[in-house]
């Protein structure tokens, strides 16, 4: 019994170690880590501070865009975004009130957007179409109405 147990534990711990190695490689070598931006902002003065004094979509390079976005109950600003096919879009976001989340189904774009913190996440849109942008953190009575769309053409 002792021997079997040992084998089982060696195999299981090895699987975990291999797993960690893969997750670590993806995170630190391939840059696939989850959104973890550390910039901060005064959540009560979002509108007065750059870049959020001017939310919008900005072309910053060849088919590269920045979306400077504020989230508040129950809206994304700007909404109804349009970008060309193949655009690499970096979302730079903060919340003006409570905790929100941004998610675009059909992509891996998923991030928490909290008051006082500036979150960044990048997504390349290779397929044309209309993508739903929704809030996935409960933010109040109108949470289900907090959505907009991004059109890729």
């Amino acid at each position: 019994m002792g021997k079997l147990e040992e084998t089982w534990m060696i195999v299981s711990v090895s699987i975990l170690v291999i797993f960690m190695a893969i997750v670590g490689y993806q995170t630190f070598a391939l840059g696939m880590g989850p959104p973890s931006n550390k910039d901060i902002i005064d959540p009560q003065k979002v509108d007065e501070q750059a870049p959020f004094d001017e939310p919008g979509v900005f072309e910053v390079g060849e088919n590269k865009y920045e979306v400077v976005m504020t989230l508040e109950t129950f809206a994304f600003n700007p909404g109804d975004i349009e970008v060309p096919v193949g655009a690499e879009v970096e979302f730079i976001m903060t919340s003006k009130d409570v905790s929100h989340g941004i998610q675009i189904p059909g992509t891996n774009l998923n991030a928490m957007v909290l008051p006082g913190h500036i979150q960044r996440i990048t997504q390349v849109f290779n397929e044309p179409g209309e993508y739903l942008i929704l809030c996935n953190e409960y933010c109040g009575i109108g949470h289900q109405a907090m959505f907009t769309k991004i059109t890729v053409k």
Binding site: G33, S99, N108, Q144
Partner: protein, 559 residues
Amino acid sequence: MELVKNETVNQNKWLKLGVNPEDALISKTYFTIAFATLLIGGILGLIQGLERAGLYSLPSGFNYYQVLSAHGLLLLVVFTATFTMGYQLANLSYSFGGLLPIAKKLIWVGIVLKVIGVVMAVTMIVLNEASVLYTFYPPLAAHPIFYFGLVVLVIGIWAVCLAVILNYRHWRKTHPGQTTPILAFFAMGVFILWFFASLGVTIEVFMIIPWVLGITETINVMVTRTLFWWFGHTLVNIWYLVATSAWYIIVPKIIGGKHFNEKLIRLVVILLVILNIPGGFHHQIIDPAISLTIKFLHVFMSLSIAVPSLMTAFAMFYVMEKAGRKKGGKGLFGWFKKLPWNDVRFLAPMIAMIAFIPGGAGGIVNTSNQMNQVIHNTMWVVGHFHITVGVSVVLTFFGICYWLIPHLSKRQLTKRMNKIGVIQTWIWTAGMAIMAFSMHIAGLIGDPRRTSDTTYGGMEAALNWFHYEYIFAAGATLLMIGVIIQVFAVFHMMFFAPKGTTEYPVAEPEEDQPSVPMWTERWGLWSILLLAVVAMAYVIPIVDMIVNAPPGSPPFKTW
């Protein structure tokens, strides 16, 4: 050797004594509260399922988020905590031959405080003053009475923790040189974890109270979230530790086997207690303000809990195979058929254990950096915890009812009741399988959790997941039938079943086992190690969140 023999004699004496009537009343009180809560929480769950699918709408004055707040608080905190205490205190009373008078007093004080606390919090939810969900993330700010209720609830839990620790120490003092009975050892692990888990949420609530009262103007959002998950995820593992106490010690007896090597069982308990609390960080993998390095460290810390779980899987298959072969099971899988599938006391925890395989695998997905990003805050997570809590934990709890409640009320588990239990177990399994599986799929295609209506103006993405919501509702309906049968069974066994005696099924060790090492009893040392692991996990990120904090947030009521 002499001591080991004495212990066996003592255990046999307790076997005859069982749980005494005064202690039985404590456990029955807990079970009464637990199953009344399950009924209410279950109804609220069904209402959500139907509302989300668009099949029902709440009467005016009530909203989805209010129902969801109550469902979460009642089932995740009240049902699981009261069941856990009823069961663990019965185990303690059984193992120690009765609880100390001081422990009993503390426990009753605890019960009264917990009831008061829950009534305060739930009243605020019903009045729509606290639709902040189970996580109550600031800067959402509920009515102050909601938080005062949580404080009273936590003090009630601490009273019971203190009772258990006092009783345990007393037993150790009066039984020098002996290791405690294994079920008492589990109970100690559970309550130590309860205490340290609740520290995080207590600090959080003491940050919130002056803020909602207007004494402080703003609050640090990241720190409160982090402290919440210190508690929130440890709670999950408290349920799991409670369930494993039945898997390791009760199930082997029911299938006519012996329990696994006690030294290893104790090692699993100790590891679960020490490693648990940092697991909470994986709920914050896509948060800002925590660096990738810290997040990676926490992927590792969360995954470390898989090690004792894999040991448990090994142990359970070992014990079951041995018992099945003893009954004549031949070949590679013959032993499997020899297990008592028609005995609800086995069937329910067995399905619970099987569910832990997909549950654990889903948990590994949730805890890993980039995979978490795919499913974070989607219905996948809801499916995950309905499999883990709703099946692995709750079905184990249901299975325990069928011997513990008749034992406590000096009644019998009749053949008919066993059959009702078997039917209940299958209905529950079917309901959870349908609901949890469809939730996982819907989550993968992006259906968000905690949202009353996910049609999003008919956008194409929403059309992909919408039909799954009817399947959630169908699963929830089956589960409601399951709840009704279970609540009926519990109260029938408590008050109406024929008088008699029911066995307290506690497995014995195998014959050739070495004695259990005394060092496993060093709870002071385990608590220090637990704190050391907590310090490793929390000091850097929390100091960072405080030192590099943005200006805080004022309170918001957005519902």
